[in-house]
Amino acid sequence: MAELARRLPIPERLLPARPVLLVLVAACIFLTVGSSISTLFAQLTVAGVASGVVFGSLGLALVLIYRATEVINFAQGEMAMACVYFAYQLMLWGLSYWAAFFSTLAIAFVFGVVIQQVVIRPVQHRSVIAVVIVTVGLFILIDGLVEWKWGANQRFMPAPFGNQVYRLGGVPVARQQIGTIVIVLVCVLALWAFFRFTKVGLGMRAGALRPEAARLVGVRTNALLAVGWGLAAVLGAVAGLMTEPSQYVLSPTLMQPVLLYAFAAAVLGGLESPGGALVGGIALGVFLNLIGQYWTFVGSVLQLPVAFAALLLVLLVKPTGLFGHRSVRKV
C-alpha cells in the first residue's frame, strides 16, 4: 500500500483557498454571535445544520460518482428513496430499526454496484450526455418500480431517535436533530478513513485523479468504479434514512426536493471535493432558514430561486465551487 502511495503522488488538499477560508470563518463567527444574542437565531441555525448535513451527505454521494466518472447521477435521490423503502419493508418483516438500518446500507452497496455494472458501464465510455440520460431513465424507472411495489401513498416508519427535546443553554434542540448530525458525520468520517487508510480507497483516489497512471500500476479501475457507485448508494441511503424521520412521512417523492439541494450543495462546495459538499450542504441549510426568516420578500416562494441565484453567483466568481481548484483544460 505504501508502495502504491509512493508511486502515485496524490495531492493532499483538505483546506480550500485562503479567501474562501476567511469567508467561512467569518460566517461561523457571524452564526455564533447571532446565536448567542437571539434564541430564535440559534434554533434556526441548529435546524439549518440538521437539514444541511442531509443535503451534504446526498451531495457527497454525487461527488463520489462525479470524481469517479465525471457525471452527475440524476437517479441518486431515487436510489436513496428506494433504499428507504427497503428499510421500510425490512421493518415490516419484523427487524428493529437499527438492524434494518444497517442491513439497508449493505443492500444499498450491492444495489449501487449492480446498477453501475448493468446500465452505467456499457455507456460509460461514450459521452457524458449518454450517462446523464441513462441516469434520468433510471430515475423514472426506479420511481415507477417503487410505486408499483409499494404504491404512492404515504407510509410511516418508527422514529429512530425518539421524541425527546433537550435544552442547550435555553435553546430547545430535538434529539432527532442531534442524531441526524451525528450519524451523517460518522458516515463521512468512516468514508474519509476508508479513502485514507485502505488500499481500495487509495486506488479509488488514484483512479479518479490519475486514471492512466493508476491503470499502469495495476489498479483495476472497473472494479473500483463499481465500488464507488456502491459507496455512493450507501451514502445516499444514509441521507434517505435521515430525511424520512425529519419529514415523518415516506412517499416516492421523498428525495426529490432533497436532491435539488444536494446538487446545489455539491456544486457550491466544488464537485471535486467531498468535504466541500458537506460544508456546502450545511451552508445551504442554514442560509435557507435564515433568509426565510429575515428577508420577508423572499418568503417561501422565492427560496429556491434565491438559493440558486446565490449558487450561480458563487459559480460566476469561482466556477469550480468553494473548495475546488481549477484543472487544466484539455485541448
Partner: protein, 417 residues
C-alpha cells in the same frame, strides 16, 4: 333454480328483442339520445390521480365505482347501468387534457364525473363547457366552480369550499377565544391563500388578532423556520392550511420546538390516520379542531346511522380492498360514496331518458336532499343562483392521542361558501 334462471334469461332476451325492435321502430327518437346514453347504459368518466403525489385520493374513484356497482346490481338507474371509466392523470393538468378529450371524443361519455384536483379541473373547464359536457360533482374545494356558474353552466362541485371552511374557524375563534393570538401556516398557492382569506372574513372585526402568518412551498424539506417564526411572534393559536404531509410535519415540529398552541387544522389534512402518525412522532394532537361534513366509520356514536350501515355493506361487497381504509376512518370512502350517491340522485331526476341538460337541471335544483353519507343534518341545496351543493359543516375536536379520533361538537355551521 335452474329452470327459474332459464325463465329469467328468456324474459331478458325477450325484453332485449323488444327494446331493439322498439329502438328500430322509433329510430328517430333513438337518435335524439344524448352522447353516452343507450337504452341499457350510461357512460361516464373522470380523471383521478391513481399514481403520483396525490395518489392517496385514488380511494375516492374506487369508492365511487363500488357505489355504481351496487346501483347496477340493483337494477341501475331507470334500467340503465352506469359504466364509469376511471383514468389516471397523476394530478398533472397536461395529462388531464388529452385524457379528457379521449373520454369525450373516443369514449363518448355522457358526463365528466368527479374528476379530482383544482388545476386538472381548471385545465378542462373551458373545454367541457364549450362542448356542453357536464363536469359534475368534481372533487375540489375551490370556489371557482360555484361562483362562475353563469359563464360555465356545465360545471358544479360537491364539497364545502375552502374559503367557507376558513370562515368557520374564524367565526369560532372570534366567538370563543376573542383574545387569541393567531398564527397562520398556509401553502403558498391558491389552495392555502383561499383558506386564509376565508379565515380573515370569518374573524371579521377580530382580524387584528392574527399576529403572524407564514407560507411554505411544497419543495421545502423542513418547516422549522415557519413554526419558529409563528411561535416567536407570540401566537397561542395555530391555524394550519396545509396538505397532509406538511400538516403532520407542522404539528410535530411545533411540539419539538417547545410550543403547544391551540391548533386548527384544515379539513384536507384532518384524516384520522395523519393525526395518529403525528401523535406517534411526539406531536400533542389532543384538542386539535377541524371541521367535517361526512359520516365517520371510526366514531362509535355514529355506528347506527343508516349511512354507516350502507357504507359497510357496499364496501365489503363491492370493494373489499377498501375495507381497511374505511375502518381506519379514511374520509375518502364516504366522500366517494356521497358524490356517487348524489350523481345517481341527479340521474334519477334527470328524466326517464336522461339528457345532459336534464342532469345539470337536476343538480341545480336540489332542496334539502338527504345524502346518507353526509353528517346527520347536513343536506344538499342548490338553485339556479346557488351552485354550491354542500354548505354546512360541523366542528370536530380530536381526543385520544395516537389512537384517538375526531368527535363533532357544537352546532352546524350554515352558509359555508
Amino acid at each position: 333454480m335452474g329452470r327459474k334462471g332459464r325463465f329469467v334469461a328468456a324474459l331478458a332476451a325477450l325484453a332485449l328483442v323488444a327494446s331493439v325492435a322498439a329502438s328500430a321502430a322509433f329510430g328517430a327518437r333513438a337518435h335524439r339520445l344524448d352522447p353516452g346514453v343507450t337504452s341499457t347504459t350510461i357512460k361516464i368518466g373522470g380523471t383521478f390521480p391513481l399514481t403520483g403525489v396525490a395518489s392517496l385520493y385514488k380511494v375516492i374513484p374506487a369508492a365511487e365505482s363500488a357505489y355504481f356497482a351496487y346501483i347496477n346490481a340493483h337494477g341501475g338507474v331507470n334500467g340503465r347501468k352506469i359504466d364509469f371509466t376511471v383514468l389516471d392523470d397523476a394530478y398533472d393538468p397536461s395529462k388531464t387534457v388529452p385524457l379528457t378529450q379521449q373520454l369525450v371524443e373516443q369514449d363518448g361519455i355522457f358526463a365528466d364525473f368527479g374528476s379530482l384536483g383544482t388545476a386538472p379541473n381548471l385545465s378542462i373547464w373551458g373545454y367541457l363547457n364549450q362542448h356542453k359536457v357536464p363536469q359534475v360533482l368534481i372533487a375540489t374545494g375551490d370556489s371557482y366552480w360555484g361562483f362562475s356558474a353563469k359563464k360555465y353552466p356545465w360545471t358544479i362541485g360537491y364539497q364545502p369550499d375552502y374559503p367557507g371552511e376558513g370562515k368557520v374557524y374564524g367565526k369560532y375563534i372570534a366567538a370563543n377565544t376573542p383574545n387569541a393570538k393567531i398564527g397562520v401556516l398556509y401553502q403558498n398557492d391558491a389552495f392555502g391563500k383561499n383558506y386564509f382569506a376565508g379565515l380573515r372574513v370569518g374573524l371579521g372585526a377580530k382580524k387584528g388578532q392574527i399576529v403572524a402568518s407564514q407560507s411554505y412551498d411544497p419543495t421545502q424539506t423542513s418547516l422549522v423556520q415557519q413554526i419558529l417564526a409563528l411561535k416567536s411572534a407570540g401566537a397561542d393559536t395555530l391555524v394550519i392550511f396545509a396538505l397532509p404531509s406538511q400538516a403532520i410535519t407542522a404539528m410535530v415540529t411545533a411540539t419539538k420546538v417547545g410550543w403547544s398552541p391551540q391548533i386548527f387544522l384544515g379539513n384536507v389534512s384532518a384524516n384520522p390516520i395523519f393525526l395518529q402518525i403525528a401523535a406517534q412522532n411526539g406531536a400533542n394532537v389532543n384538542g386539535v379542531i377541524s371541521t367535517g361534513y361526512l359520516i365517520d366509520a371510526l366514531n362509535a356514536s355514529q355506528a347506527n346511522l343508516p349511512g354507516i350501515k350502507l357504507m359497510k355493506s357496499i364496501i365489503s361487497t363491492y370493494a373489499p380492498s377498501l375495507v381497511p381504509s374505511m375502518n381506519g376512518g379514511d374520509a375518502n370512502v364516504p366522500y366517494g360514496l356521497g358524490a356517487a350517491w348524489t350523481f345517481v340522485y341527479a340521474l334519477q331526476h334527470a328524466g326517464k331518458t336522461p339528457t345532459r341538460a336534464g342532469l345539470m337541471n337536476a343538480l341545480k335544483s336540489m332542496h334539502n336532499v338527504k345524502d346518507p353519507f353526509l353528517y346527520p343534518g347536513i343536506t344538499l341545496n342548490t338553485s339556479a343562483k346557488d351552485n354550491f351543493p354542500t354548505e354546512q359543516e360541523i366542528l370536530t375536536k380530536w381526543s385520544g392521542g395516537a389512537t384517538g379520533d375526531f368527535t363533532a361538537f357544537g352546532k352546524l355551521y350554515n352558509g359555508v361558501r
